[in-house]
Amino acid sequence: MTTIKVKDKLLSKNDQHGLANREVFDRHRIWCINLISAPGSGKTTLIECTVDHFAHQFNIGVLVGDLDTEYDSRRIAAHGVPVHQIITGGACHLNARTIGEFISHFDLDKLEVLIIENVGNLVCPTSYYLGEHHRISLISTPEGDDKPVKYPGAMHTSDAVLFTKTDLVPYVDFDLKTASENALKIESSLAVMALSAKTGEGLEAWFDWFESHAKKHNTQDESRVNK
């Protein structure tokens, strides 16, 4: 009997594809974000108001993952941005290899921001790095203020958490202070925001966060060509 000591990271093949995507994004100075949440937390609605808000400021492209249908990509395409739907056919998360195949569908020299809307699932997508610069988790208020500690993987791997649908707070048991504490318990460096895409409450903070990161990324290398 022999013992072989190893140091293999599981899912490292996905990470390699993720790093290859990251290299493409950096070469083209594209800021890429990955939105993850449970189904129905408001990812598509947030994307719709974000692309509208920045319509004259950034060239934004969107990749949308769903188990089936092109509903979400049609909704987003109506806002005049390039969008591609990834139908996973049952897979519960997007993987880096698929993203690598789909990014070639965009005009990468023009693109400044790529938003990836992951499949609605707050578990599996957390283990799959897609090459994004920032990961954002959405938790809607009806899901409960204890959700961050129930899904620690999502909090741990995210850079920001957005508590969405704040207009529903009067009707559901959700305390924003508790929710924020529960998120910061897992990841003390998280940016925490609360908003309602329906009423517009809190959207400014999100737009500021988005703008400052996108600008920082797009201007990091002044020698960039074709922009």
Partner: protein, 112 residues
């Protein structure tokens, strides 16, 4: 559900080492799973068993080592987090800076 692709990856890694080291049989595989890794041990065991069935690695014993994050509170206290609803044992703070506890690795293979 992603435990299935993790289990698939575990079998691939065993196969890669078999090709590299030329052993005949792997008797056990040790993996390290952190509290923050979003991997369910039971689902992983189930997926591994199903995928290995009927193949060269059927019956490989899966050993799971669990790891936990280390918390550092602003009051200076450090402690291990085994329950995410923790409070600092010294000052009672409900938040702290966590590090580690997000492992998702293969640690060793027992082969002959």
């Amino acid at each position: 559900m992603h435990e299935l692709s993790i289990a698939e990856n575990m079998l691939e890694i065993i196969e890669n080492y078999r090709a590299e080291r030329g052993f005949k049989h792997c008797s056990s595989l040790t993996v390290r799973i952190g509290l923050l890794s979003a991997v369910d041990e039971e689902a992983l065991r189930f997926a591994f068993e199903i995928l290995a069935e009927g193949g060269p690695h059927e019956g490989v014993v899966l050993e799971v080592e669990k790891t936990y994050p280390q918390a550092r509170c602003s009051c200076g206290c450090s402690f291990e987090v085994t329950d995410l609803l923790y409070t600092c044992p010294r000052c009672g703070s409900v938040t702290a800076e966590l590090s580690g506890g997000d492992d998702l690795n293969i640690v060793q293979l027992e082969v002959d």
